[in-house]
């Protein structure tokens, strides 16, 4: 009896926080859903009639939408490839005993502590600027035409900036995983005649599989919603060349003041994120159990 009573009491006790959290999630979701079915434009005040799926069809047939989907996926996949690949390389290097390890590790990890807007601005103005930037100066020294990164290759430049921010995260997680690798296993492989490459391929990489999965899952969640870096560098342009889904939703609701279409875009983004999540869990989630 006692356990039943305490169970009831426990449910009663956690009820406020559960209700609060549920309301926190359900109310905005419900409002977004509701707005997405209204004609709701701040430039045209008045009544907001119910228009069914009109907002969705506007959003989905918008030529910017397809570009945004492609850009979102390119951004996520590009950054994942660079950070996971680079992270593995850096983790292997940093796991070696060497002089000044502590300082080098802190230096490698520091980009992660810089705010996205700040790092994007630093990249934009100090590195990629075709007149004052460091890269332009370097090109000048070599007698080359300076390259205007954010105009000529906007998406690739943003992928570079975001990769620079997320590389430390991947490195950190993979480095801790590296350090849990049993040195006896490496020595056994050495005795078994495995070359350094084979040891990496057959021992280190499988050992890192789980950490790589974690990195991919966490980064995907954050990379789907990259926004600040685009806002402060290219504003989604030129044209829609660097507009991702998040930026498109922002543009609809806050640049064109169309709350209805913006909400519809938000719902589309939620669905897309879930599709990606299911896809990822299917593909690599099995690494997480056992």
């Amino acid at each position: 009896m006692a356990t039943q009573h305490s169970r009831a009491a426990a449910r009663f006790m956690i009820a406020p926080s559960v209700i609060l959290l549920l309301a926190w999630m359900v109310v905005p979701l419900a409002m977004t859903l509701w707005f997405s079915f209204l004609r709701y434009n701040l430039l045209m005040p008045g009544d907001n009639p119910f228009v069914g799926f009109d907002n969705y069809s506007y959003f989905l047939t918008d030529p910017a939408f397809q570009a945004a989907i492609v850009n979102t996926l390119l951004l996520v996949v590009g950054v994942l490839i660079i950070t996971v690949g680079g992270g593995i390389g850096l983790a292997v290097l940093l796991a070696q005993p060497m002089w000044g390890t502590g300082i080098i590790r802190i230096m490698v990890i520091s980009p992660f502590f810089i705010m996205p807007t700040v790092s994007a601005l630093v990249w934009k103005n100090m590195f990629m600027n075709p007149v004052n930037g460091l890269f332009a100066y370097g090109a000048d020294l070599l007698g080359l035409q300076p390259f205007d990164f954010l105009t000529q290759a906007p998406l690739a430049s943003i992928i570079g900036i975001v990769s620079w921010q997320w590389l430390p995260f991947a490195t950190l997680i993979l480095l801790t995983a590296m350090q849990s690798l049993d040195s006896d296993q490496m020595e056994a492989a050495e005795m078994d005649g495995a070359s350094a490459f084979s040891r990496f391929f057959y021992i280190t990489l499988p050992h890192l599989a789980r950490a790589i999965t974690v990195v991919i899952l966490i980064q995907t969640i954050f990379l789907l919603s990259i926004f600040a870096e685009i806002l402060v560098t290219t504003n989604g342009g030129p044209g829609v060349a660097s507009t991702n889904l998040t930026y498109l939703v922002y543009a609809e609701s806050l640049l064109r003041f169309d709350v209805g279409t913006g909400s519809a875009g938000g719902v589309v983004a939620i669905i897309l994120a879930n599709i990606v999540a299911i896809f990822l869990m299917r593909m690599i989630g099995k690494n997480l159990d056992a």
């Binding site: 006896d184 020595e187 078994d192 005649g193």
Partner: protein, 334 residues
């Protein structure tokens, strides 16, 4: 063939000399056990032979060929680690196949050797499992299987049984001895357990602080320990080492008597004391006897059913021809 020769082999970590220059020959087909207390350098010595550590001086020869500068894989030795060091993401089959795969052996040859090794080690039913699904003893056998398929010149074992429970340890001890008899390959075995050393070895190397204290067959070490360290280390329970007047009567600084060479007599006897703790093992009883002349209790082996209990007076007399005498430096007096 697997004859391993160490000439003036030395190991330093920084300024600390872990192993002072040392000579040792391990004959082909021999089962050699390195034994000593923890931190005596026995594992380091094994790793020097394996090539996992670089020597600071001296030369290692395997079958007469210099091996000092060869990488571990080129020495033709196989090692079994204390932690087994199996590859957790590979099945047992792949674990055993790994060294052959690295050597670029054909698939048929690999399969043949795997099934042969699995048969020898009773692993046939487990070939498709992962190491995580095996018990400690089975993992140990997989590690041995991975060593066998390389057909090495010598096997190196680094405390392979210390992670197993007592019953399993006895079983694996027999299995390894059996394997040695069957393969007739040189085996070098490191342990801190003198029982393992006594039961398995053809030749025991007793180490202390990187120095070889004595090399010899188990019985040689038991019968004629070269110094008090070996005398106290080999044999279970430990030899009683007695100093003072009693030793002086034998013209020695220290005399040693093993518990099994002391007899309980009705009266008289060399030593008289009070019975302390008695350990009844059924077949034997070990008494810890407190003597007036000594701080340390003396251990005595008596028959299974001796009617003595705590606090009783006991008279002991050593077998005269089984008394070991040691001089001021702790060395044996012949």
């Amino acid at each position: 063939m697997g004859r391993i020769t160490l000439e003036k082999v030395q190991k330093k970590f920084g300024d600390v000399e872990v192993i002072p220059p040392l000579d040792l020959t391990i004959e082909d087909g021999e089962f050699v056990v390195f034994v000593g207390p923890s931190g005596c350098g026995k594992s380091t010595l094994l790793r020097l032979i394996a090539g996992l550590e670089d020597v600071s001086g001296g030369e290692i020869r395997i079958d007469g060929k210099p091996a000092t500068d060869l990488p571990p894989a080129k020495r033709g030795l196989a090692m079994v680690f204390q932690s087994y060091a199996l590859y957790p993401h590979m099945s047992v089959r792949k674990n055993i196949a790994f060294p052959m795969k690295m050597a670029g052996m054909s698939q048929e040859e690999q399969d043949e050797k795997i099934s042969k090794a699995a048969e020898v080690l009773n692993l046939t039913d487990y070939l498709d499992r992962r190491p995580g699904q095996l018990s400690g003893g089975q993992r140990q056998r997989v590690a041995i299987g991975r060593a066998i398929v390389r057909e090495p010149a010598a096997f190196l074992f680094d405390e392979p049984l210390s992670n197993l429970d007592a019953a399993l340890r006895v079983g694996m001890r027999l299995e390894i001895s059996e394997l040695h008899k069957r393969l007739e390959t040189t085996m070098v075995y490191v342990t801190h357990d003198q029982v393992e050393a006594m039961t398995m070895a053809d030749k025991i190397v007793v180490l202390r602080a990187g120095n070889i204290e004595q090399v010899g067959s188990p019985l040689e070490l038991y019968k004629t320990p070269r110094n008090t360290f070996v005398a106290g280390f080999i044999g279970s329970p430990k030899m009683n080492l007695i100093e003072g007047d009693i030793a002086r009567k034998h013209d020695a600084r220290t005399i040693g008597v093993r518990p099994e060479h002391l007899q309980v007599v009705d009266s008289g006897g060399t030593f008289t004391g009070k019975v302390g703790v008695a350990e009844h093992l059924g077949s034997d009883t070990f008494f810890h006897v407190h003597l007036d002349e000594m701080d340390e209790p003396m251990t005595v082996r008596a028959g299974g059913e001796v009617g003595l209990s705590h606090g009783d007076t006991i008279h002991l007399s050593p077998q005269p021809d089984k008394i070991h005498r040691f001089d001021d430096r702790g060395l044996r007096i012949a």
